[in-house]
């Protein structure tokens, strides 16, 4: 079981309130991702749940038990740190066995769990190595192995992939998702990368400056972002925003249109624009265009497959009316 409830939880460091009081429920078995720009308090929130920081006010409940003053070790949560935090002087086996040794689990049970975890994580050949002799991805897996053998109520990940190179990151992302499918344990995953959030999450919590902007499934956030911040943060490339005349036509202070929701043509359309940079990837073409009459602006357009235009060419854009997002002066969504 691993249902985690935050009730009016807040955190201040001295006079600085990093997290104003917030409510959040993470259901048992759910893969929840905290996403937001750097410094918005994601790690702090995770550490509050882990018990590594004391909360300033509010209550944390794990499986409806008050865990606010329970020490980290007793909360039944396992954490995977950004730096992996492996014990450098211990072999992989000893690293993974450490939490079980501390818990006083019998040796044969320890061996059984190490065997199971290392087989699943492809670590059996490295059991006697030190962390220093492993690659980044292998270290990452050892850290995950050390968390798995504890059979925790929930896993906490703090930007676990940010130290890996791009190719490895995609691979590990899949492995963690598969791990979640297999274990069905609650996982809370912190990242600043919205692609990770979109691909892995059952539920995304978007944070800005310690405040929850929106909670929802990846597609809910993509289709109905509740404000401009979420709209701009979720989705890649970023949503285009237009203000003034173009927005007024839709009765909004500003409108947003995703790069993939703009139809492009070389001869006719709603808005005329000049191509700045064209990125031809084969599978997609990304065009960075400057709308006529507002050349300082850049709009991004995504076209499926190949689209043969070059720098300086004139193109016409037409937004898909049903997919335009409208926002008021406060940046809130207009339904």
């Amino acid at each position: 079981m691993g249902r985690i409830t935050l009730d009016q939880v807040s955190k201040s460091f001295g006079d600085v309130e990093v997290i104003p009081p917030l409510d959040l429920t993470i259901e048992d078995g759910e893969f929840t991702v905290f996403v937001g720009p750097s410094g918005c308090g994601k790690s702090t929130l995770l550490r509050l749940i882990a018990g590594l920081e004391d909360i300033t006010s509010g209550q944390i409940r794990i499986d409806s038990q008050d865990a606010t003053n329970v020490p980290p070790a007793k909360r039944g949560l396992a954490m995977v740190f950004q730096s992996y935090a492996l014990y450098p002087h211990m072999s992989v086996r000893k690293n993974i066995a450490f939490p079980m040794k501390m818990a006083g689990i019998a040796q044969d049970e320890q061996d059984r769990r190490i065997e199971a975890a290392t087989t699943a994580l492809n670590l059996t050949d490295y059991l006697d190595r030190r962390p220093g002799q492993l690659s980044g991805g292998q270290r990452q897996r050892v850290a995950i192995g050390r968390a798995i053998v504890r059979e925790p109520a929930a896993f906490l990940f703090d930007e676990p992939l940010s130290n890996l190179d791009a190719a490895l990151r995609v691979g590990m992302r899949l492995e963690i998702s598969e791990l979640h499918e297999r274990l069905k344990t609650t996982m809370i995953y912190v990242t600043h990368d919205q692609v990770e959030a979109m691909t892995m999450a059952d539920k995304i919590v978007v944070l800005q400056a310690g405040v929850i902007e929106q909670v929802g499934s990846p597609l809910e956030l993509y289709n109905t972002p509740c404000n401009r911040f979420v709209a701009g943060f979720i989705g890649s490339p970023k949503m285009n925003f237009l203000e003034g005349e173009a927005a007024a036509k839709y009765g909004a202070h500003s409108i947003g249109i995703r790069p993939e929701h703009l139809n492009i043509s070389t001869d006719e359309g709603a808005w005329k624009a000049t191509v700045g940079v064209a990125e031809h990837l084969g599978s997609d073409t990304f065009l960075y265009v400057h709308p006529e009459g507002n050349e300082g602006e850049t709009m991004t357009v995504r076209v499926d497959g190949e689209f043969a235009v070059r720098h300086g060419d004139t193109v016409f854009l037409t937004p898909r009316e049903d997919l335009i997002h409208k926002f008021d002066a406060e940046g809130l969504r207009i339904p």
Binding site: L52, P72, A73, A78, A85, L86, Y87, H89, M102, R146
Partner: protein, 288 residues
């Protein structure tokens, strides 16, 4: 940059330092070796010619030799044990966030800047004097008879004095080592269910092992030759005659330069054995 030209320029630039260091080391070493094969009694006839290995055998077979080796080892071992253990504890304490941390740290380092002679005199007269020393007053306060530290517990006293001098060094090195410990490792151990004592034993102490080895290595090399502390406190009496003190006595008190030089050569050999031994440990530690 490693062209022929830059390399020869580098050699030229380094030459003065190399020559100076060589002279600094080689001249005394050669002179010691030279005198150790001579019978040389400055006040009783001067240079009395070559005597082969006689000085070496005489130094080894003299009744004072083995006790002096033993004393040296006890002092070095005692000081090492005290400074390392207390150093680890102090470093751990100083690493805690507290009020006035900067000032406390400077105070802890201070003894290192006091000259050995001065600190030994301070200890001898202000703390250990059986009549008006601070420790004597303390003993009297509890109704006990003051200990005559430097005669009744002479080795302990010297170990205390020398430890007091070297504790700051050990603390400083260990403190920097503790500060380099990744706090996420401690947090991971905390989440893994390790209570503070176990975190210290399983995470902090292994992390400090390299720094501890370095402290032991450097201190041993310096401690093998402590002299001032003994000279101004017991003057080598009450079983505090170390190897270096014995050599000093042979040369200056017995005015037997040949014999003292032979002792000096033994001391060089001993120091080198220790150094090689310790280098190996450090080397192994650095590889890991």
């Amino acid at each position: 940059m490693a062209t022929q030209h830059s390399r020869s320029a580098a050699r030229l630039m380094m030459a003065p330092a190399v020559v100076l260091l060589l002279g600094w080391m080689l001249v005394p070493l050669t002179m010691t070796l030279y005198f150790s094969f001579k019978k040389y009694l400055p006040l009783r006839g001067g240079d009395l010619g070559w005597v082969g290995f006689e000085n070496y055998t005489r130094f080894l077979t003299s009744s004072a030799f083995w006790p002096s080796v033993q004393t040296t080892l006890i002092i070095v071992g005692g000081v090492l044990a005290i400074t390392v253990i207390l150093g680890v504890l102090l470093a751990t304490l100083l690493n805690q966030p507290m009020w006035g941390q900067g000032a406390v740290r400077i105070l802890v380092i201070a003894p290192f800047f006091v000259m050995p002679t001065v600190s030994a005199l301070v200890w001898k007269n202000m703390f250990m004097d059986p009549n008006y020393g601070l420790l004597a007053h303390l003993w009297k306060l509890f109704g006990a008879t003051p200990i005559e530290w430097l005669s009744q517990a002479s080795l302990t006293s010297i170990i205390m004095i020398v430890s007091w001098q070297w504790l700051p060094f050990a603390t400083l090195i260990l403190l920097t080592a503790i500060q380099s410990l990744d706090s996420e490792q401690l947090e991971a151990a905390e989440m893994d269910g390790a209570p503070p004592i176990k975190r210290f034993g399983y995470i902090t102490l292994p992390h400090l092992s390299r720094a501890i080895t370095v402290v032991i290595l450097i201190q041993t090399i310096f401690l093998l030759s402590i002299f001032a502390e003994i000279f101004v406190t017991t003057g080598g009496a009450f079983g505090t005659k170390t190897l270096s003190y014995l050599i000093f006595q042979r040369v200056l008190e017995s005015q037997n330069i040949g014999l003292g030089s032979a002792g000096g050569v033994y001391a060089i050999i001993l120091a080198n054995i220790v150094a090689i031994f310790l280098m190996r440990i450090v080397g192994k530690n650095l590889d890991a």
